[in-house]
Symmetry: C2
Subunit: 169 residues, 2 copies
């Protein structure tokens, strides 16, 4: 096991070189700043328009056949303090301290947000969606169709504290 870990270490040097992304679009909605942490369900009814680069308009064809899409975006809004490996999720003291990868916090090494939203309408290079928890002006990195059975799990388990953060799940 140790020997194997050593080999991994060597390989990681090559595999961890930086990657440059170019956003494909931007989010427009009424949310100008991040709501307070105690309002956990603020985004469920939010309507956003995602405007995709015009040269990629055709690449959206066929997305209308899906009721839901996955939006990957860059959580560009400022967050205070340095990234800590462990913290109370959403700063809530009633939830145990866990590692950042056990949370959906924007405070992470690569600030990619991932939200499944309802696609209300696609018109040209604009997608109107419901339930996106991204702020106005958020750069969009990718759009994917939501595929049940690939993206969803029937019997997933999660710790009890998750319900405090997502009371509707």
């Amino acid at each position: 096991m140790l020997l194997w870990s050593g080999q991994v270490g060597v390989e990681m040097t090559n595999e961890l070189s930086p990657i440059t992304l170019k956003p494909i679009g931007v989010v427009h909605n009424e949310v100008k700043e991040r709501p307070p942490a105690e309002v956990s369900d603020w985004f469920l009814e939010i309507i956003s328009e995602i405007v995709i680069e015009p040269r990629l308009t055709e690449a959206l064809d066929g997305l209308e056949g899906f009721s839901h899409i996955i939006v990957l975006y860059w959580m560009h809004h400022p967050v205070s303090g340095e990234i800590q490996n462990k913290r109370h999720p959403q700063g809530r003291k009633d939830v145990p301290i866990v590692g950042l990868f056990a949370t959906r916090a924007p405070h992470r090494p690569n600030r990619i947000g991932k939200t499944t939203v309802r696609l209300l309408r696609r018109q040209g290079n604009t997608l109107r969606v419901k339930g996106l928890d991204a702020l106005d002006g958020t750069p969009v990195l990718d759009i994917k169709p939501y595929i049940p059975g690939y993206d969803s799990v029937a019997d997933a388990k999660f710790p009890q504290w998750t319900i405090k953060l997502y009371p509707w799940i």
Copy 2:
């Protein structure tokens, strides 16, 4: 609408500046090259080890409480030809031509893959997972807990052709 689109165009110039990511880890498994497109379920039983940078080991604490995790990774393997806005998904002629954002193809502007996998074991900075459709050596960008009701949708609709590509859904 036209005026609004014009305003968006102006804003997009600012919002679309490049973003640099640094991978947080790497995938290790037995899959050295992409299986042929007709074998769509090749990854369901694949066991992978995701080795995270040692300095981020603590940031994985608490992930053990989740049965499933979401892996965001960089689809680094070479793909032939230029990115086309529209094509047959997986090159399959029995499926209609659709836009790339209506598919999960690696051939996309930002090659971020997103897969929900079963977390079999976490040991230090290594996550053993089942069902990751990434090749050996794939750079990992982010790890998130899978949260039912946030990541899943009960009543999602999808086009009929999707079933040809994902027959088990």
